[in-house]
Amino acid sequence: MRTYDPRHRIKHIAIACAVVWALFFLRLFYVQIVCHSRYEKLALTQHNRRVPLSGVRGTIYDRNGVVLAQDIRTCSVCAYPPQIRDRAAAARELSRALGIPYSRVHRRLGKKAGYVAIAKKISPEAEARLREAKQSGAGRLDGVDLIDDTRRIYPLGRAACHVVGIINPDGHGTEGIEAEFDSYLNSTGGWFILARDAKGEDVVTTRSLAKQPRPGANVVLTIDANYQAIAASCLRRAMEEHRAAAGSVVMVEPASGEILAMVSAPDFDPTVPGTWRRGTLRNRVVMDQFEPGSTFKLITLGAVLEEDVAESTTIFYAENGVGRFGQFRVNDTSKHGWVSLKEFFRVSSNIVAAKLGLMIGEDKFYGYCRAFGFGATTGIDLPGEGAGKLRNTEDWSQRSLFTMAYGQEISVTALQLAMAYAAVANDGVMTRPMLVKRIEDDGGRGLRRWLPRERRRVLSEGTCRTIKEFLADAVDNGTGRSARVEWCRIGGKTGTAQKYSASTRSYSSFVSSFAGLLPAENTRLVCLVVLDEPADEHLAAVVAAPVFKELVERVGNCSRPPLSPPFDRIRFEVRNDAHVRVPDVRLLAEDEAARDLKKVGFDVRFSGVGSRVVSQEPAAGTLARTGTDVRLRLAEADKPASDEGALPDLRGLSMRDALRRLSAMAVTARVNGSGVVAGQSPPAGSLVRRGDCCVLELRPLAAERHGTHR
């Protein structure tokens, strides 16, 4: 006889549970904490056997969709040594197709690994040879694989090198737009994993692909490829002719601040890393700071006219070429006696500029310099932008004020100077320089958009008109004569600045520049040419102005906006693609809003139902190209558009819809019955006034249907 207590036995089971828990606790402790570092190391070696797959980097386009930088498909060759039957034969075929030494391929193939890279980014010809060899090779190249890879091409080459930038071998941008928008352009790479079979050997299966790469976003620039190429070739020719050390050209559309071309020399080839040197990689338009010289007299002139210090007819004594300002002497290149303000600008007299500077006074002059954006970065989307050097008035010496008035003792970047001229061309409103229009993903969906943005008004429109007249006069009759073209009246200013050289500690070399407005009125293009240290001649009238002329001639021949339609007719035409401020049409009636927008040159697209515009896109006050769609959302207004209206046909509508229609007309309703509207009084089309009453006869839907059945 034996006894058993079920409680006892279930206790045994519970104890077993506790034992299992303790066992797992100890085991987990051992595996996860004691052996943690050992497994970490193991995992590292294992995860390193991930084979990376590169994705397609985003494309960089110019404003018209011309490719500036693009990834094109190419091939990399790899091999899976365990799958290769005849190592020697495979190595021979590979070395023949790819042009790599046999011994190196042979050694690679002999590695005890599941995967070896043979060659990266091979040429299309090599790829074709290899594919042919693989087909006709009778299995000798089994285990050799072509992996899709990408190579970046730059169709404009050296011409757009500084703007577009370069990428390093890891595929990350290091210069220009490639660097600035690297996070957008970059693709997220994928990888596949080498699986291991039961024998512990690497195998590659179709299933082992773990992560597909995702392509990067595309960047659309404001650059025009044609203008960029023209600017680059003009600059290169000028650099050779004048044996200049460096140079830069920047073209801006003044109304929007869009940069159409930005060229810097010396340049580099984005596909040849050997040409990437410190000097060549420098984008001088935004990085280099120089003393502008006479081109800066624009700011002096602007301040004088705006502050009413003098009028265009006021005359000044130019001291016959040598002016004394306290203990300092200021020289002019040519001797003049009494000159008017206009003549001063035409002949570019330093002495008069100095006098004007003194008349304006320190604080005001400093204020205008700041207002024109000197001494601060413009915020353009490029890396390494310089701010120039504009000292505070406390740090000015006795000569600072009048020296700055003719553009010495202040350093600026070419972009700042171009934007200052663009502000004058834009009737006194500074805009933010724009280099990127939008970023979109590979499906064309917009991720980010840039709209032209005004920063501030620096001069009145009247002042700007006078300045533009002066600029045109300087080209017609003054220092800028060599920039003149026949088909268009342009405005411009030369600048020959002495350059302080740190090595010789003297002002022995020069910076020659020309800033021009094309045309002088209704300006569509502002262009700045800067040549640094030209060897023989240094006068801007001889060096920089002809470059500008060549540039303008060639740009004028290519019929691309913003320079078409022809200039002689611009003033009388609706500017097809100018930037115009979007008027505020909110709360206007549908037809009024459409009329207002069409008048300025916009197209209109409506959405929603109602009589009043409740919202608009682009918003009121922003700049937009004429011809673009302005989307308006309509909604019901509180009050009807007119006092009297025709009653619509309400039959067949549900009660709710009918009431909504009536309330939109401010007509009260009396409802009889339920269901859908079967009759109305007064009938459809009769004129009703606000506050009138309409009687609706409603009938159930089923009865209606029944009735039609009969």
Binding site: I13, A14, V20, Q32, I193
Partner: protein
């Protein structure tokens, strides 16, 4: 509406179950995302969506079972067993079952795998049989029929072939017999026979043999190595949910049998101990339900159902932590798969129903009257 949830008295048991199911859903999502993306055209939620639906279904099943008086199961036990055996036999008939990776475990159209259902049926039958026989348990009258049913069902499961399931089936039966009062000698016979069949099966099957050889260090054992690697790289607090590297196909089946390895990699030692403790808590609650069951049938049934969950848990975690060779058993409530989830939820539902019956009979001590009796077993020679 809330009335239906009041049937189960043991709120802690229910809470633990729901918590486990939630963790399970989370783990299925994080562990299968990469797999879903590569197999189903980037659909990272593919497995998760399926599993969420099944979890909902399982939860409903649990609620239904919770509100179904378990005594009604007692009368139907033989029929349930017969249905289960028919399903198992049907699998062996060519053309009925669906073959997945060399084993026929499913009948298309049925929500549960026959082997999962058979385990439940065997536990139910044994409980009702032993409860009917009462204290007078002789080898011939009591142990032999149980023996026959268990080994018969296990044999059919073995034919699929599914060695792991068969072993669990035998062990669950052994537990029921043990608490049912079987003598150790008799149990040893049952287990011994089971072991002999299992060994024979392993030796005759090169696939099984390879696993055992790998476990003993004589061959390769890719899954075990990778699973330990996953656990080991988890460290104390893990890499964080969704940060597992191993799930990217280093570990085959990251969402089914080896989900605990991914869990360990992502939540670390702390997370693992928490989950193991949660399971142990659930088992102890199950045993408590058994101990306070109002009658012998409830007692045996509760123990058996708890044991079936517990053995799956122990086998699965044992495999993942490298204590026992690979068996291919899922982790209850956590692993991807609807069949096991459904049957485990049903089991918990029955447990909850049993827990609701314990305060009847008006016994102030909370113990059932029958438990006070010391049952005498006459030894029959």
């Amino acid at each position: 509406m809330l009335e239906v949830f009041k049937a189960g008295k043991d709120k802690k048991l229910m809470g633990a179950t729901i918590l486990l199911m939630a963790v399970g859903l989370l783990m299925v999502y994080t562990s299968s995302a990469g797999l879903g993306a590569s197999r189903f055209e980037g659909d990272v939620g593919h497995y998760f969506k399926h599993q969420a639906l099944r979890a909902l279904f399982a939860f409903v099943a649990m609620t239904v079972m919770m509100n179904l008086d378990y005594h009604r199961l007692q009368r139907k036990a033989p029929w349930v067993l017969i249905v289960a055996l028919i399903a198992l036999v049907a699998l062996v008939v060519p053309g009925v079952g669906r073959e997945v990776r060399g084993a026929t475990r499913q009948i298309p159209g049925l929500p549960v795998q026959p082997s999962e259902f058979a385990r439940f049926a065997v536990v139910l039958y044994l409980s009702s049989f032993l409860a009917k026989r009462g204290e007078a348990a002789s080898f011939k009258q009591c142990i032999m029929p149980c023996f026959a049913v268990t080994l018969g069902a296990a044999g059919l499961v073995l034919l699929q072939p599914s060695l792991g399931s068969a072993v669990v089936l035998v062990l669950v039966s052994a537990v029921v017999l043990y608490v049912g009062g079987a003598r150790l000698k008799h149990l040893a016979v049952v287990l011994g026979t089971g072991l002999a069949v299992a060994v024979a099966c392993i030796l005759s099957n090169p696939y099984q043999l390879e696993r055992i050889r790998g476990f003993l260090g004589l061959g390769h054992q890719y899954q075990e190595d990778q699973s330990l690697l996953a656990l080991g790289t988890g460290g104390v607090i893990g890499k964080g949910i969704g940060r597992s590297m191993q799930k990217y196909l280093f570990l085959p089946d990251p969402h089914t049998d080896f989900v605990f390895a991914i869990y360990g990699e992502e939540t670390g030692f702390l997370g693992c101990v928490l989950l193991v403790s949660l399971f142990t808590f659930l088992l102890l609650r199950g045993l408590k339900v058994a101990a306070s069951a109002p009658d012998r049938f409830g007692f045996l049934l509760a123990t058996g159902l708890t044991a079936s969950i517990g053995l799956f848990f122990a086998f699965n975690v044992g495999v993942v932590t490298g204590i026992i060779p690979t068996t291919g058993l899922p982790l209850p409530f956590i692993s991807y798969g609807g069949s096991a989830l459904l049957m485990n939820a049903v089991a918990v539902g029955v447990l909850l129903n049993i827990s609701g019956h314990r305060v009847r009979e008006g016994v102030s001590s909370g113990r059932s009257p029958w438990k006070r009796n010391v049952i005498r077993i006459t030894e029959i020679r």
